[in-house]
Symmetry: C2
Subunit: 492 residues, 2 copies
């Protein structure tokens, strides 16, 4: 057993023994090595690990409850607890077979970046405190602005995820368009929009009644006629339409709203046009994505999640805003104890343009993998996801009894098993059974959603680890589960 595991000895300095919280070089190295051994082993066995083993979760959690410890415990025991007890009983978001919700993946490059960023622990909220590090994060956000076709005056902000990106967009729009009493301000989104939009509106002060949920069409796209009618009706009622949210890939089915028509309407009606591209936005890197996202560059703001479309670990979202000055106007507050702030498009104080003051240096974890590989590899990986979803759709459509409920507009396909004469309630039972049988094989993990009253199963391909071999396994498992159900029916 190594020294780190038994004693956690403090470093020694010239002035005597160091404080116990100061790790010695040796201990720090051993801690990193111990973690790396576990990580490497975890990643090596990842493809064979169960996908969704959560039976007994409540018992596990209860067994882990404890009071604040007064004294310490060896690092090795803590590593074991995390890897052996906690990790084995999870939704395995990092697995190549994770096709549920929006897959996580998690490029290990980002873990190395955080190892560095946390240790050197510089502050990147204001330019003057770390000009070079801030610039790396500015580069990353500028690249995102360029990807979506924004002009030089645009600005990007890294957030912890889509929820805070959407919130910051709605808040900025509120400040820009409804500077005074905004309680008559009305915002519009489709019934397919992510619920973080509702949450963002609530956080930003809008009553739930001010959110107009516009119906979507058979392709899950916002119905523009219904939107127009609603806006007119609201104006007649002396309300103030101020914002419309489009989706560049919904979470349910990857549906893409008609962004050109929404941009036209927003311009005509003088609405702030926000696009939620948290799931789908980075497909703009591919040729197909660029075509399907026509009009995206006309949005006033766009949410993008690098922890989805750039395969990074959870905790890396982004908002890009066409007019940097709007972000600044919305977020500036003065304080005597703050360091000198810049008034320069080149020298960016992130804290002046965002809700956060101190926060982690999350730029490095985006910058490192993009710089190590270049964007070409990411573009190819995203194109592969589009191919895999389309492939899955084609294969599914050949299975007897399977109905494709939503063809892939990006990398999600939604389907269900049908049976002539069955009610929706019976079909839900049938498809819950099908889904359970697929997931029980533990090669892939699929989740469901509700489309217009129909219980549907989704396949969402977005992990950098998911390739054709796993998709073939997925289809094989689906075929087998359908077969099992069919046999059960005959034998009963």
């Amino acid at each position: 057993m190594s020294k780190a595991e038994t004693e956690n000895p403090p470093a020694e300095s010239a002035t005597g023994p160091a404080h116990p919280l100061e790790l010695s070089e040796e201990t720090l190295r051993e801690m990193v090595e111990g973690a790396t051994e576990r990580i490497v082993e975890h990643l090596r066995t990842l493809p064979e690990q169960p996908l969704s083993y959560t039976e007994g979760g409540a018992e596990l959690a209860r067994s882990l409850r404890e009071d604040l410890p007064e004294s310490g415990q060896p690092y090795s025991e803590l590593l074991e607890l995390v890897f052996e007890r906690c990790l084995s009983l999870t939704y395995n978001t990092a697995s190549p077979g994770y096709l549920a919700f929006i897959p996580g993946g998690g490029l290990p490059h980002a873990a190395v970046a955080d190892l560095i960023a946390d240790t050197v622990n510089r502050y990147v909220g204001v330019f003057v405190a770390a000009p070079g590090l801030v610039q790396l994060e500015v580069n990353v956000t500028r690249w995102f602005c360029q990807m979506v076709g924004y002009p030089e005056t645009a600005r990007g902000l890294l957030t912890t995820g889509g929820s805070l990106a959407n919130f910051t967009a709605l808040y900025t729009a509120r400040r820009e368009r409804l500077p005074d009493n905004f309680l008559k301000g009305i915002l519009y989104c489709s019934d397919q929009v992510h619920h973080s939009i509702m949450k963002a509106a609530m956080l930003a002060g809008f009553p739930e009644g001010n959110i107009r949920v516009v119906p979507s069409d058979e392709h899950c796209r916002m119905q523009l006629d219904a939107l127009k009618e609603q806006i007119e009706s609201d104006r007649e009622s002396d309300l103030q339409p101020f914002l419309v949210v489009g989706s560049a890939g919904t979470v349910n089915t990857g549906a893409i709203d008609d962004l050109v028509a929404l941009a036209d309407l927003a311009a005509e009606q003088e609405l702030w046009f926000h696009v939620d591209g948290a799931y789908g936005g980075f497909f703009v890197l591919t040729e197909r994505g660029r075509e399907r996202f026509e009009g995206l560059d006309r949005a006033d703001s766009i949410s993008l999640d690098p922890h989805k479309g750039l395969f990074l670990p959870y905790g890396t979202g982004c908002l890009v805003v066409r007019d940097d000055a709007a972000l600044k106007r919305a977020h500036h507050v003065a304080a005597a104890y703050m360091p000198p702030l810049q008034d320069d498009l080149e020298q960016i104080d992130f804290s002046e343009s965002s809700p956060e003051l101190s926060r982690d240096f999350r730029g490095l974890r985006v910058w490192l993998p993009l710089k190590m590989h270049g964007v070409g590899v990411f573009r190819q990986a995203l194109a592969e996801k589009l191919d895999l979803a389309q492939w899955a759709c084609d294969e599914l459509s050949q299975i007897d009894g399977i109905e494709i409920v939503a063809e892939p507009q990006l990398s999600i396909v939604a389907f269900r098993l049908t049976r002539p004469g069955s009610s929706e309630a019976e079909l839900e039972v049938l498809n819950r059974d099908l889904q359970q049988r697929i997931n029980d094989k533990q090669h892939v993990f699929l989740t469901s959603t509700n489309l217009d009253g129909r219980y549907v199963i989704r396949i969402c391909v977005l992990s950098f680890r998911t390739h054709l071999d796993r998709m073939e396994q997925c289809l094989e498992d689906i075929r087998q589960a359908v077969q099992e159900i069919s046999e059960d029916t005959y034998s009963s």
Copy 2:
């Protein structure tokens, strides 16, 4: 040169060469090792590194601007860029001599925790997705609730920092106390409160005019008579007082409001009582802190920043709320595609009680150092910071011409050089000169603030790396700078 540095080769799998984004075991190990070498070297030389070398920051930043790279660059070059070019030109927040703003520190334990959390990349926003990992984060937040004396019904949330903690508190209070039209809702804070409170109020929808800034007394504590008068006057004007913010350690001087009196007043006036303890809250672990924070446990919500008082890296804030149900009522939004949520005090869905849905697993970075060392070491370290600030104050008061403007109520002391007959403007010039001379010696970094029109220099002790030896150096540098100024005056 290692393989990782030249080629970044992809891993190979049984089914052929892996995707280029899949790091081979060898490459991942080499990346971690390369980073660790740099980190160890960085930490070893930390005590001697400059504290605030930022000349040429704009030029550096400009030289780093680049377009999105299509192809990759060797990892070794990227490491070099970060460590050699970017890091050397920063405010050295991690240094033992960093006594500016609120010191960062950054326990390296947290870096190892993030290395693990990012790589395994599990989702902790809902209980069912990772019951064991969620429980580790629940433990941490429960410990924080216990530290402040909260009952079992309390709940904590880890945020990225104090700004989002304060925002979440103000938003929750708004939802609880002003469920409908809240534009007449008035909130109260002292003129010493952190500006993130103003920002939080703006984000949550309150016009700036609804924030009442109450004057503070000669100890920088909120004047309670003035507060009472203001509340009465607002009630008479048919406005709705709903929230008062107290400080458990202001950023300017570490001033602690009379929390018992504020709690009494809040109860009497039926106001939500929020305490900003982002800087000072964790001093509750010490005996002195517990005494000085009497009344803290009666707050409805408290912001605490583990990246300040628990010495963690930036990006780890916390909000604790007395009534868990209030957090849930404020944040719940339903969605068909979400995993099953819990309705159980033991099985916590963080996404249901916070503004964030996906986000990083920030619990591990708090849990690991607390479990490795136990809280005792942290308590001692915090007590040491109180001692050091008091020691500095005593020493400063013996320097000819130095006026103590704010004695330490926690670990901050504010002082200035005075000169008989000088105007405030002249004193500002004098003290800017003094501050510059101290900082130019590059052993410590001190920043300033403005107290009631007076330019004052602050010493804020909060890094786990700052001990008596560095404080002695700090005082020596101050004495010398005062001497230099005195000599310059005589010789001119």
